[in-house]
Symmetry: C2
Subunit: 147 residues, 2 copies
DNA sequence: TTTCAGGTTTACGTTTACGTAAAGGTAATT
DNA sequence: AATTACCTTTACGTAAACGTAAACCTGAAA
């Protein structure tokens, strides 16, 4: 077997690796986000295709729509645009940065709140232990409705 | 007349403040995320309602579904759960932390990539200026991004 | 040769998060 | 009284991102 340097992937290879369905990958292609080559009818994915898929999924984690991710790909080769398009691209970049900064802040605040929620949960658990200290399956004495 | 300490908001007050439509706010209520009081048929929102709305919107910015945000609200009063529920809540918290950590990383990487894309755009613009050399409305020639 | 694990297209179904009328109530102006 | 500005409910519509089912090809293994 020739150790062909060009690594390739089947659709289910990528589906397994990224824990998505082939349907999802085909859908991304349908939306113009991927363009794998074909051997006959079968899709063959290059490492480059794999990277693009990775970028799409990262975009999704950050709440990007597929269209936004597609637009972001264009930012990787700004040779193709005229002056006005380049200005638009710069504005787009600035806008994304603003959003990401907001998200960064949101995450920090929410992390703190998760800490607090966790503390309250642990405290509630401790109070359970207190109540249950003696041998009987004593009921908890708080006024909240039980299930 | 009486300077009633309890501040209230109409639905359009909140809609304006957060730049969403009244329809959106009613939808959140329909989904059990808000429960404003009523004066007759009209919804009256308390500062607490306003905070909840804020939390919903922050959740949305981070990609939470409404159901997830609703579940997060329950984390604020862990008095109501039994032991098993508290364990579940702790697991939920841990899961959210994992996701937020991933997002944090995603954001950092994407910020860097945005920097690079911006640099490429600026470079492409400079090459335009070169081509357009003489009569152009003087461009700034420095290569650094400005603030 | 049949079976079978993968791949394909086509196409309709589903969930989430609202948008968009339609039809009407209420309170303050004009 | 009539207009205006909000508010309400009811209900059907919609876009995004796939899920799911049907019907088919296809190469390798049993």
């Amino acid at each position: 077997m020739s150790s062909d340097k060009s690594q390739t992937y089947s659709i289910s290879d990528l589906a397994r690796e990224f824990d998505i369905t082939p349907r999802t990958i085909r859908f991304y292609e349908e939306q113009g986000l991927l363009a794998p080559t074909r051997r006959g009818q079968v899709r063959i994915y290059s490492p480059g295709d794999r990277v693009r898929l990775k970028l799409i999924l990262r975009g999704k984690r950050l709440g990007f729509t597929l269209e936004e991710s597609r637009a972001l790909f264009d930012l990787y080769d700004p040779g193709s645009g005229n002056r006005r398009q380049l200005k638009t691209m710069l504005a787009t970049i600035a806008s994304h940065r603003t959003n990401l900064t907001q998200q960064l802040h949101d995450i920090q605040v929410m992390m703190i709140e998760l800490d607090e929620s966790e503390a309250r949960c642990n405290q509630a658990l401790e109070e359970f232990s207190d109540t249950t200290s003696s041998t009987a399956p004593i009921n908890n004495k708080n006024t909240m409705t039980e299930e």
